[in-house]
Amino acid sequence: MKKLESRHYVFLGLFVVILLTMLLNVRLEIRVSPETQKMYNYIDSLPEGSVLMVSFDHEASAVPEIKPLALSILRHAFKKGHKLIGVSLLAEGTGIGYRLMQETAGEYNKVYGRDLVYLGFKPQYIAAILSMGESIPETFPEDYLGRPYTQFPLLDSVKNYDNVAGVISIADGSLTTHWIEYAHARYHVPVTAAVAAVMMTTYDPYISSGQLHAMVGGLRGAAEYEKLLKIGGSGRRGMLAQTSAHLYVIAMIIAGNIVYFLRRNKRVKS
């Protein structure tokens, strides 16, 4: 066996910290931020049976962070009896979105075609967003599995954004911007977002200007949302691990400096 180097200990330490904190299954008490509360209130206050469009605008690699968020939102919407139309503006998010919607629909005994429809992917996001503003059936003549649009009772009354209560963009990058700048600015449909933590600062200006109605972000956002829904979920389970990982990084920075100063002193003495 090859000799272990210092980085191996650093890696091992992080692994152990996260493994233990996740196995412990402790729910860290967290405060719900006003942002998350606003998102929750928005979905909660829509009249039952509202049609929401959920857009999966993320890549496959972001799934670990995005999934808990998406699940919370989908669960909330189904629980409130809303009807969902799924789309995707990034090819990689398409299959994932379909699976997530199927999975949550199953939990709440929702029927495909009546309570949810998944339209799938459309390339060229700006053109797709604009063209749905004119006509959704012409943009998506078929659903994800290739069945005609007219076949589904849910879609009977859905022609364009006028028949949709809002758009929820689930994103790991800047695609939400296009929903804001095209769907909201031009067709005045309320846009909300569930995003990766890194993107939150990017969207802050849109929240303060009101162009983005509400936003929930990161694992922390998912945990807060789960708390509001009063369900257990991977977001809340992950919070202790998240905080510990942060502390671990701080500890590593400090440890690195201790090592550095010890070595330097030794060198000075000798």
């Binding site: 090859k2 191996h8 933590a197």
Partner: protein, 204 residues
């Protein structure tokens, strides 16, 4: 447990073994990832671009203008032979030329002008006292720009200002580093969640 989860779980572990060191299991997983992802992109490009964006509108809707990008695309095939390789310079010239043409106004606007205007805020608070935070911003932007000044050696007061600029740069780097840590940890926690609950069924 379905076969998909088992395979996904094994491959996840295979990639994680890299943290110990490079090994045959990781190498196999890596080769598979590279191969499959290239195949995936080939298919997606064929269906979303070549079919949906070009052939379908060209042949069923008669959009003849699409012949231009078709020819440009085909010229790239010139690269298959050393003698015809120069042909590929034409589509490349289109890409580079257009990119440069857009970049001049777009970069100037988004990067330079917008940032300039955003920096402008009164340095006097309504009560007539100086606004320290805004003074800091001004000092930061100017000294950092001085750091980026190339045609003068960093000596004397000029050099001191540039050094000041590097302090601001370091604050920025420290801040962004810390800010991204959270997201990176979430990603790994998400993977562990999959391993522990979907694959190994240890937590619920």
């Amino acid at each position: 447990m379905d076969a998909g989860t088992v395979i996904a779980g094994i491959l996840t572990l295979a990639i994680l073994t890299f943290l110990y060191r490079d090994n045959p299991v990781y190498k196999l997983a890596e080769s598979l990832l590279i191969g499959v992802s290239i195949g995936y992109f080939l298919v997606i490009n064929w269906s979303n671009t070549i079919m949906d964006l070009m052939f379908v509108p060209l042949f069923t809707q008669g959009k003849l203008m699409l012949i231009i990008p078709l020819i440009l695309g085909l010229l790239m095939f010139g690269r298959f032979n050393r003698k015809t390789t120069v042909l590929s310079r034409i589509p490349i010239a289109v890409l580079i030329g257009s990119g440069a043409g857009v970049a001049i106004p777009a970069m100037l606007d988004a990067r330079t002008l917008q940032q300039m205007s955003a920096t402008v805020t009164p340095i006097l608070a309504p009560d007539g006292l100086p606004n320290i935070s805004e003074l800091v911003v001004m000092a930061g932007v100017i000294t950092t720009l001085i750091y980026f000044y190339f045609s003068r050696e960093h000596r004397g007061w000029w050099g001191k200002s540039a050094t000041m600029g590097t302090y601001f740069l370091m604050i920025f780097f420290g801040t962004t580093f810390a800010y991204t840590v959270m997201s990176r940890m979430s990603t790994f926690i998400g993977r562990m969640e999959f391993l522990l609950s979907d694959f190994l069924k240890l937590t619920q």
